[in-house]
């Protein structure tokens, strides 16, 4: 049995004149100790879905079973007990503004029934984990965004949870700070074996964090795959859209402008592994007699596996170009002709 089993879950909101299907017939299984990403554009239903896991949102239909407990049917007491073992971190940190950092964490400890006498020591321990042991007596307003999120993590870990839900946990932060938070989360996952469910619309930040990923669109899961496969071989349109935006394989307009008057074809080539495509390019060029110039190229690493992206411009006579394109399609994983 998986640690989190979401089965046929739908969430609908009734508003005055219409019904909003925020989540539609979603089924997911998340295993103990994995980092599971849920990606999609804003409004895809990710936040609503993740809130069904700790019962902040009641599904209209379907079941959510966490550690063997059916969250949708749990009474108040059972729900509170389950919540203590599910940490939650938020996009906007959601710390109590008029309480110190120490008091914020003490609140979570008290909620979890942690003995008051032992709290000061536990608070120091938790804050040390996120490198903020000397900020106990500060108020949230005195901290930077990244520091606030670190307090959010410490609070979420207060009751030794076995699941951590992250709702756009890095989206309010700049890229560098976001990476810091990702590193902390990865470390928590590896050292404490806490399952992490991470929601985001920013694929780039979390590419090294996820083991598996679900892609959401209009309340539905449109693709479920491993992190590497999502980047190397996205299948659904939404996944392609997100990945392409990340790999940024669109050519700058300046380059397109420059090539406007020239006869030829622009191809983007995506390939796995970090071997060079040079031999292939040279081979195809000499086989067909076209000339091939490289417009753009880079390599991304997902879990230390490389994905190369290359844009090339092929010129020559019409026939030769077609032949060259055919050969690329044979020899390279993914070939797309760029519309001109």
């Amino acid at each position: 049995m998986s640690q989190i089993e979401i089965t046929d879950v739908s969430v609908t909101f009734d508003q005055k004149n219409r019904t909003i299907n925020a989540v539609q017939d979603v089924s997911l299984k998340i295993e103990t100790g994995e980092v599971y990403g849920i990606v999609g554009l804003s409004g895809a239903g990710k936040s609503t879905l993740v809130r069904t896991i700790n019962g902040l949102q009641k599904p209209t239909k379907g079941t959510v079973v966490v550690n063997g407990v059916d969250i949708t049917k749990a009474d108040k007491k059972a729900l509170a007990a389950s919540r203590k073992k599910i940490g939650f971190i938020f996009q906007n940190f959601n710390l109590i503004n008029n309480r110190t950092i120490g008091q914020n964490i003490a609140f979570a400890l008290t909620a979890g029934g942690y003995p008051e006498k032992k709290q000061p020591q536990k608070i120091v321990e938790l804050l040390s984990m996120v490198g903020l042991q000397d900020r106990q007596d500060n108020y949230p307003a005195q901290l930077s965004g990244g520091q606030k999120q670190r307090v959010g993590i410490a609070r979420a870990l207060a009751n030794d949870p076995d699941i951590l839900l992250c709702d756009e946990a890095t989206s309010a932060l700049d890229l560098e700070t976001a990476e810091e938070i990702i590193t902390i989360l990865k470390d928590i996952n590896e050292r404490l074996h806490i399952t992490i469910v991470f929601i985001t619309h920013q694929l780039e930040v979390a590419k090294d964090l996820f083991d598996r990923v679900a892609v959401m669109e209009n309340g539905k899961i449109v693709e479920q795959t491993t992190a590497y496969n999502l980047f190397a071989n996205p299948k659904s349109n939404m996944a392609k859209r997100l990945v392409n935006r990340f790999l940024d394989e669109q050519l700058p307009d300046e380059v397109k402008d420059r090539l406007k008057d020239q006869q030829g074809v622009i191809l983007t080539l995506k390939y796995q592994g970090d071997d060079s495509l040079d031999p292939v390019i040279t081979e195809i060029s000499s086989n067909t007699g076209v000339s091939i110039s490289i417009l753009q190229g880079r390599i991304e690493y997902i879990h230390s596996n490389a994905i190369g992206v290359l844009a090339v411009f092929i010129t020559g006579d019409q026939n030769a170009i077609s032949k060259a394109v055919a050969q690329f399609t044979q020899k390279v994983d993914m070939v797309e002709e760029v519309a001109r």
Binding site: A80, N94, I96, A111, N159
Partner: protein, 220 residues
């Protein structure tokens, strides 16, 4: 001039004390019961707690009904109740009855909006820890709403001082009564002006203390 000083010496202390009595009693009752009612309204309307639209609507209707009466009318209507509770309605204690009835729904709405202003995200985070409502009230709702509640308390006290003058005119005493009795009815402008100056000073001090505390409890 001498007459003015004589009147003030004879009556001012007593009048101030009566006003203080009325405002203190009705203020405490209004703030305590108003907070409870406001919390109830909030609890039964927030989707993160226990939304009960019917309870919320009924309580809300009663509050609105009391609040829609002009205070002058409420005061007259409540004379029998004041007689029942305080014995003599034409005393500061009697006046405090109608002031309290007015203060409770007034402060209930203030408290409700103070709680409703708290970021839903903070409540969500609190709910996520599995905390019960009482703990959330003590550690989240109260500290987060406190600055706004303090401003509401100031507003309530200042309104009550104003209303207490009205109660004074029907015989419950207080500084308002002093102004009307001697300043207006006996054409002693000196008394009238003195009372106005004293009221302005009192209200300024209350506002100043309130602002100071509200800022103090907004941390960071």
């Amino acid at each position: 001039m001498n007459e003015t000083i004589r009147i003030l010496q004879a009556n001012l202390g007593q009048s101030l004390w009566e006003t203080f009595e009325m405002v203190l009693i009705s203020g405490v009752i209004g703030i305590v019961f108003g907070t409870v009612l406001g919390l109830l309204l909030y609890y039964y309307s927030n989707r993160l707690f226990s939304p009960r639209p019917v309870v919320n609507a009924v309580v809300g209707f009663i509050i609105n009904a009391i609040r829609s009466l002009p205070f002058l009318i409420l005061m007259v209507v409540l004379i029998p109740l004041a007689k029942l509770l305080a014995g003599d309605p034409y005393t500061p204690m009697g006046g405090a009855v109608s002031l309290s009835v007015a203060a409770v729904p007034f402060f209930a709405r203030i408290a409700e909006s103070s709680f409703a202003e708290i970021d839903q995200g903070i409540i969500e985070a609190a709910r996520s820890t599995g905390a019960n409502f009482w703990l959330i009230f003590q550690e989240v709702l109260f500290p987060e709403a406190l600055p706004s509640l303090i401003r509401g308390i100031v507003l309530t006290i200042i309104s009550l001082i104003g209303y207490s003058a009205m109660v004074g005119t029907i015989g419950a005493g207080g500084i308002g009564n002093l102004a009307i009795q001697f300043g207006y009815n006996r054409y002693d402008t000196g008394v009238l002006i003195s009372v106005i100056v004293i009221l302005v000073i009192i209200v300024q001090i209350i506002q100043w203390i309130g602002d100071f505390l509200a800022v103090h409890y907004t941390r960071g």
